[in-house]
Symmetry: C2
Subunit: 316 residues, 2 copies
Amino acid sequence: MLRRIAKKIRKDFPRNTSFQRHMKEFELLKIAEELFSEEKIEVPAGKHDSALLRYGSDFLVFTCDTVNEISDFPKFMKPEEYGKMIVAVTLSDLAGSGAKPMVFLNSISIKEPDKELFRKIMLGIKEWAKRFDVRVAGGDIDFSPIITISGFAVGVTKKVLTRKGAKPGDKVFITGPLGKAQLCLEMLEKGCNREELPYAENLYTPIPRISEGIRIADFANSITDISDSLAISAHLMANASRVKIVFEKEKICLDHLSRFVNEEKAIELFLYGGGDYELLFTAQDSEFGMEIGRVERGIGVYLDEKRVLFKGYSHF
Amino acid sequence: MLRRIAKKIRKDFPRNTSFQRHMKEFELLKIAEELFSEEKIEVPAGKHDSALLRYGSDFLVFTCDTVNEISDFPKFMKPEEYGKMIVAVTLSDLAGSGAKPMVFLNSISIKEPDKELFRKIMLGIKEWAKRFDVRVAGGDIDFSPIITISGFAVGVTKKVLTRKGAKPGDKVFITGPLGKAQLCLEMLEKGCNREELPYAENLYTPIPRISEGIRIADFANSITDISDSLAISAHLMANASRVKIVFEKEKICLDHLSRFVNEEKAIELFLYGGGDYELLFTAQDSEFGMEIGRVERGIGVYLDEKRVLFKGYSHF
């Protein structure tokens, strides 16, 4: 019975791939930001991927994320990958602060006490936590007809580096190619099998850029992770830093996409696709990462002369 | 449509008030405990209400909890109270380690971007966070047909005090009377209105015993919070400490219950009712709290000569 209802919900619950969803999410975030604007914390809720609080000579970095089977799990995803996914999306927020992860906790709701399902999800969490060197400090189990997993992570860093701090004259970099996860997601929607996807790993088992974030923290002026889309991350960075971000088309490599789609679509996937979990950062210069543009005085986000919209597709 | 489905789910999803549910939850916890037994952490997952990790000269204390509208929200509960509830249940785990709360984060899933609902839940979180002096450091928003809120809290303490440590010769204490929330829940199930409940506050807006926990940490040998039931907390404490816990009927005050139910039922509510969020602790002696029994050599939990079962009713 429950399974039938869950299936029905999956069918009827609107897929959250639209511009509208993000706008609405940001409207809610704004309410929270206003309500909690006076908390005594160095970088509070809503100002960055994660919150930073001074602790002795360090800063503790806090973040949380939730995934559920309706909004966030692509077709053909395996239970182990649910576990890897929640670790990846949560740690990605720490990477987006250049922080070293310390502990991870998860709160999981499953339909019924299905030991095999639970063990597989936990094995995924264990494998990804080990890979990114974070202790699993505990968790909580609840029951719900919708599989829902929340991840919480605490990291540590020596300095405050956020999306605020991009400077005119900086160059703009990303840690890796974008659009792969979204390309796969759209291929799934068109009826492809998992085996046919060119970048299944990017979609099902994304990699949080932890070591890259720590390295970037040494020299960058601003940083953020790219979970929803490059466009959304760049807009948040440009707003927070009060600068204009210009992507330069001739610097952007789209080879990984243009083998599968035309140029226009490749640009769209690159700018507006979600789920890659790379980092966006700005610095005077960098020997590391892919240069894709520059920071100027002004406001907004551009691809050469053309405005880049504040939109994105969530991972699902 | 969604609302109808959600209503249907609420109707069909089994109410989690049974012994079985707890046994199944503990079976799953055992799987997690085995998988994560080698994590490098002073008090790891599954060994206590929260995990403790040494950090400089202090210990950081981590915990997370989830509530959802199907399993955890009693009838007539208001959205502000959803917010207070998640703060209370999460901080209660810190109280159960004698820790001082530092930050709170929440990850919330709601059906649709209902700004009024969202604001009310956040206002509840804000009010309860302020009351218990914890910073709200951030959060995450997701969409799901079942309202689900996960709370995550980090606290700090100077010493490791857990449910392991009760010593033969200790006396057993609780911070306040038990069974009030369960009494109200059962009255609701019998058709009472909210206004008719004698202890509505205990059910809808429980108080985490933060200041009591910090005070108890100065002198107690063991501590834990009571979320599911006194029986479950005492069993976990007795097992972890390898002792026998004996409640003494003549020391237990049941006046707050016996005005409404007979003595047998009052004892049942006291031992097996959930949702009061008091603390259970053992110490050589205490000027503080209500003495209800003693610790002996042996195993198990007893009410005088009679065995107390490992069972409880969750908050809902």
